[in-house]
């Protein structure tokens, strides 16, 4: 059916962003600004909830909503479409956005106007990305999210934030340009921007390019290097949104546009297989490398950032399987990851807010001072490690089920990753909340209510999504998959069997063992110093973080350009002789080559 609801969903946040800029004046004091901003958040919450609810209602009836703005402009019109997948991701995004914006009310101290207008733009762009019907609308919105995120990352305007932002914007723009190229190839192949179809040889390149672009967006190994820099540099709520939603856009792009061609194969090509093994191998690599690098980190937000890479690996692994179960697991994990990773970043933001430091070796013994933060953080940590009964457990069980049908080794890899994740969270929680409190942390207080509220809500969601796994899976995830997997059916997964519980116990045990062994060996610790002694490990880690390669490429390009600049003559005579040479060259070309 046609309706203007999706259009409104996309436009209203932009409109409100303009409202923020024009009505909230710089000369107001902070309280006045906050009051206005809270009103606007309230409006957004009500309006968006209504719009999304109406659309959800319509979709539950089995319809698909279409909406178009200037559809007569073939190239540049905006076409939106809402189906199960879009509405689920849009809801998750909106929920996380709301949590983040309420959290930011006290967390963000400076430049409120800029921050909130950008946050609103980001909301609109995210909604646009997931509601986009065709590739070009998707591309337009993905670029908007990129720029808005860049400006949010550099919100603090410190040197490291600016550098991280620079790296972020360059890498993601290169990724976006790959998507650009692939969309153009698709258009020339098929004559429309609707879907990526593998028909000729062009389709193959287009699909791979699109996939690469999405990988950059998703921040998976080996294209992840912007992610560990950008997360710590950004304000914590922004990191929460970045990790919870922004990198999911890459996964969403893969689900929306690449997943349909994974199983749809031309005769005599195993193209779908190649693609799916590409996605899966990237997924596995990110899982392992992400978690290994996370173990070695001493900056709390950097640690979480590496875990984002690792968890994106899970999602991609599920998608890459190309089966119904795999997609369900991937999607479920996507939703869950948004919840618990958002929560983790908010918790660490609370810690940073109260203590003013992000370094593990300055933290310790906070549980007495910040009980609620500690509690929510433990829930999130258990969830991310896949411990029952939290949501991470549920989605990892689905994924394990899906993977077990494919290859048993992968299941083992998943369990090892989960154990290492558990180990690294033992380290994080242990060093942050337990142990001896540092002297300077005696006066620390629990964070104020606007920050606690989103954390508590997210923690409750983590529990809810875990306990009611069967319900959530069949109501939401299968519902989201209807457009992609035919026919619609109910998935039956036994969540609470002996096997799953034993696996969880195994993970816990392995995690403890890994933690103890590693800390005995001095591989993981509070400070960088301890860890630098294990030289082979250091080498391995340096080798694993391919950051240096990209940096070297960038430096090389920069040097080449500088070189070009220095050999560029300033002498007029040389330029004039170039003119003559050009003239002669053109003559020669036209007279002898062409005629």
């Amino acid at each position: 059916m046609n309706s203007n609801l999706p259009l409104l969903t996309v436009i209203i946040p932009f409109f409100l962003a303009i409202t923020v800029v024009s009505f909230v004046k710089e000369r107001f004091n902070r309280a006045q600004q906050l009051r206005l901003i809270m009103v606007i958040i309230f409006i957004v919450a009500i309006v968006m909830a209504c719009l999304l609810g109406l659309m959800l209602f319509e979709i539950l009836k089995g319809n698909t909503i279409h909406s178009a703005f200037l559809p007569q402009m073939v190239t540049f019109g905006l076409r939106l479409q809402v189906d199960g997948l879009s509405i689920v991701i849009a809801l998750v995004g909106f929920l996380l956005w709301l949590a983040v914006s309420i959290y930011s009310i006290t967390y963000i101290k400076t430049d409120l106007i800029r921050y909130y207008s950008l946050l609103l733009i980001l909301l609109g762009a995210i909604q646009g990305t997931v509601l986009a019907k065709d590739l070009i609308s998707f591309y337009v919105f993905i670029e908007m999210t990129t720029v808005a995120t860049y400006l949010l990352i550099i919100h603090k305007r410190s040197v490291d934030a600016l550098q991280a932002g620079y790296k972020y914007i360059l890498m993601t723009l290169v990724g976006a340009f790959l998507i650009f190229l692939s969309i153009i190839l698709v258009y020339v192949d098929t004559g429309s921007y609707e879907v990526i179809v593998v028909t000729k040889s062009g389709g193959f390149i287009a699909a791979v390019l699109f996939l690469l672009g999405c990988f950059v967006k998703a921040g998976v190994v080996p294209l992840h290097t912007w992610l560990p820099d950008a997360h710590p540099a950004a304000p914590s709520p922004v990191s929460a949104f970045l990790s919870g939603m922004m990198i999911k856009i890459g996964a969403y792009g893969i689900i929306r546009f690449i997943f349909p061609i994974l199983n749809f194969d031309l005769p005599a090509t195993n193209f779908g297989e190649i693609l799916s093994s590409l996605i899966m191998s990237i997924g596995v690599a990110s899982m392992l490398i992400g978690v290994l690098l996370a173990l070695a980190q001493t900056d709390v937000k950097r640690l979480l950032a590496y875990h984002s890479i690792s968890q994106m690996g899970y999602i991609l692994l599920g998608i890459g399987l190309g089966t119904k179960l795999g997609l369900a697991g991937g999607l479920y994990h996507l939703v869950n990851h948004a919840m618990f990773k958002g929560l983790l970043f908010l918790c660490m933001g609370a810690v940073t807010y109260s203590t003013g430091t992000r370094k593990l070796n300055n933290l310790g013994g906070l549980w007495k001072r910040m009980p609620i933060t500690t509690f929510t953080c433990i829930i999130a940590a258990l969830a991310i490690s896949g411990i029952p009964p939290f949501n991470g457990f549920a989605s990892k069980t689905v994924l394990a089920e899906a993977v077990a049908n494919y290859n048993f080794m992968l299941k083992f890899v998943m369990m090892v990753t989960a154990a290492l994740t558990f180990a690294s969270f033992l380290k994080l929680i242990g060093y942050t909340f337990f142990g001896e409190p540092q002297k300077q942390l005696i006066t620390v207080k629990e964070v104020p209510l606007p920050m606690l509220l989103p954390m508590i809500v997210l923690a409750i969601l983590c529990v809810f999504l875990g306990i009611n796994a069967q319900f959530v899976l069949n109501r939401f995830i299968v519902f989201a998959m209807t457009g992609l997997v035919q026919p619609r059916s109910i998935l039956k997964i036994e969540f609470w069997t002996q096997g799953t519980v034993l696996e969880a116990l195994f993970i816990i045990t392995l995690g403890f063992v890994a933690y103890i062994v590693a800390s005995k060996l001095g591989l993981i610790g509070r400070e960088k110093k301890e860890f630098e002694m294990g030289s082979s490990m250091v080498k391995l880690i340096k080798y694993l973080s391919v950051d240096r390669i990209y940096c070297n490429i960038a430096v090389l390009i920069d040097k080449l350009c500088k070189k070009l600049d220095s050999i560029q003559p300033r002498d007029l005579n040389i330029h004039l002789s170039w003119v003559i040479l050009t003239l002669i060259a053109l003559f020669v070309v036209l007279f002898f080559v062409i005629i």
């Binding site: 710089e26 000369r27 004091n29 902070r30 200037l70 402009m73 190239t75 540049f76 400076t110 430049d111 800029r114 591309y139 337009v140 670029e143 908007m144 990129t146 720029v147 860049y150 400006l151 550099i154 603090k156 305007r157 600016l162 932002g165 620079y166 914007i169 360059l170 723009l173 290169v174 340009f177 650009f180 190229l181 153009i184 190839l185 258009y187 020339v188 960038a554 390009i557 920069d558 080449l560 350009c561 500088k562 070009l564 600049d565 560029q568 007029l572 040389i574 330029h575 004039l576 170039w578 003119v579 040479l581 050009t582 003239l583 053109l586 003559f587 036209l590 007279f591 062409i594 005629i595």
Partner: protein, 493 residues
């Protein structure tokens, strides 16, 4: 009266130019009014032109090949609109600068008037005359601050521009020798016959004209004058140079290549490949040179070479889509680049330095100007929903459709480099110490004083245009469409 409109559009700034010399107080009003009058005259023609008519005005009533005629068709209307619109904004932007005396406005008006002359005239020799007039005014405008660097930049431009226009005139001579007429449309009629009898002469003239105009457009090996001239000139003049004057070269190239040599001959001798090669080379060269620059305006100047490369690629592809993209990119580049130069002017005036590194903390002082700068530079990189994206998209699409997929890869590589240098500037703009008290900074310089109003409004207008054309690209494309169909099919839709 109404049949004399084409000449009135040229006369009005020309007359005002000389009147400006005799008045002390009213120079700005006079200049502004004359340009507005020209714009109004142009707009009265719009319905006629956009519906596809061609307005021909015979100067002094002399018809045909002997007399000079002015032609307003889709292409010239499009270019004259860009010229006059930006010209008006440049004049407004110049108002607060007290140093600019009467001669400044005189030269500005002369250059604008002669640009319109170049655009409207159908006589190729007359085109040369107007172009020389334009160049003379521009040389003087560059040298206007009379500092050492500007004098040298102006002199270099004079020598290279003089050589370029000599090539052009020699090419015109060959055309005249073959066809015996100077009217563009008559040459176009007679050229196919001449092409069969004296191929070499035709080639000679096309090479000379392309090289001559190449110097004026500053494609890569012929660009020597541009970085100095564009970066050293006063900021409004830089905006005029980069936004408009260079486009006049593009206009002449399009006229000569697509109208005089008609597309058939052009494709026959395969010289669209030449345009494409020149475009690719200057695209990559401009991008990589801009990355190495430390001086803000020099960076912008090299970025002009980069963007004109894209335009040339679009022209070289030569399909309907390619031409649409190229012309649309001309419009977009004019808007974006003048925004950037206007912003750069304010930045240099406020911070007192031309170095990129010296700009830190500017976003605190002038958030709106910074916003405009960010918008325009995003457009330059080609990020939706800013206008640069739309035209770049069209050109890339045209390239793939015509089978030149590698061109898209090159354009995107250059865009990535463009992102690298523009974001380096943006990063510096946003850097700077965090202010503790949000009220504190207002004592500093937040208050926009009267003079700045004239400086900031052109920027706001241009930035709004960037966004508008990016959100609704059809506005621009519908302006371009008559020109494209005129060039390709010699008919009007």
């Amino acid at each position: 009266m109404s049949i004399h409109i084409p000449i009135l559009i040229i006369i009005s700034p020309l007359l005002a130019a000389f009147l400006v010399l005799f008045t002390r107080k009213h120079k700005i009003i006079l200049a502004t009014v004359s340009i507005i009058a020209s714009i109004v005259f142009t707009l009265t023609l719009s319905s006629q032109v956009l519906s596809g008519d061609k307005i021909i005005y015979h100067l002094g009533g002399w018809r045909g090949p002997i007399g000079i005629s002015l032609v307003v068709d889709g292409l010239s209307f499009f270019f004259s609109l860009i010229t006059l619109g930006l010209g008006l904004l440049v004049i407004i932007y110049s108002i607060p600068e007290r140093r600019y005396g009467r001669t400044y406005y005189f030269l500005l008006l002369i250059s604008l008037s002669s640009m319109i002359g170049v655009i409207y005239t159908a006589d190729i020799f007359n085109m040369y005359v107007f172009y020389e007039l334009l160049s003379l005014a521009v040389y003087l405008l560059i040298a206007y601050p009379k500092t050492g660097v500007t004098l040298r930049a102006s002199f270099n431009y004079l020598i290279m521009g003089g050589v370029g226009l000599s090539f052009f005139l020699l090419g015109v001579g060959f055309l005249y020798a073959m066809t015996g007429t100077l009217d563009i449309f008559h040459i176009a009629e007679r050229l196919p016959a001449a092409f069969n009898s004296s191929t070499r002469m035709v080639l000679m003239s096309i090479v000379l004209i392309v090289t001559g105009m190449g110097i004026k457009i500053a494609v890569f090996p012929l660009h020597g004058w541009l970085p100095d001239a564009h970066s050293m000139a006063p900021s409004p003049v830089s905006a005029l140079l980069s936004g408009v004057t260079v486009k006049i070269g593009i206009y002449c190239l399009i006229r000569v290549v697509y109208t005089v040599f008609s597309t058939e001959i052009f494709l026959l001798i395969g010289s669209h490949n030449i345009l494409m090669v020149l475009g690719v080379v200057s695209l990559l060269f401009g991008a990589s040179m801009a990355l190495a620059q430390k001086d803000l305006k020099r960076l912008l100047a090299y970025s002009t070479i980069n963007q004109l490369g894209i335009v040339l690629i679009g022209l070289g592809i030569g399909t309907e889509l390619g031409l649409t993209g190229a012309l649309f990119h001309v419009l977009n580049h004019a808007i974006m680049k003048s925004t950037l130069f206007f912003c750069a002017g304010i930045m240099i005036a406020e911070t007192g330095t031309r170095e990129v590194q010296g700009l830190n903390g500017f976003s605190r002082q002038q958030p709106v100007i910074t916003f405009a700068f960010v918008i325009a530079s995003l457009g330059m990189i080609g990020i939706p929903p800013i206008n640069g994206f739309a035209s770049k998209w069209l050109i890339c699409l045209a390239a793939v459709e015509a089978g030149y997929t590698f061109l898209v890869v090159i354009i995107l590589t250059a865009s990535a480099i463009a992102a690298a240098y523009y974001f380096r500037v943006i990063q510096v703009l946003f850097s700077g110490p965090l202010k503790q008290d949000p009220m504190h900074a207002h004592e500093g310089g937040q208050v926009i004083h009267g003079g700045n109003l004239f400086r900031s409004w052109p920027i706001y207008i241009l930035a709004a245009a960037c966004l508008l054309l990016g959100l609704i690209p059809t506005l621009g494309i519908s302006l371009v469409k008559p020109a494209v169909s005129l060039l390709l099919f010699h008919v009007v839709p």
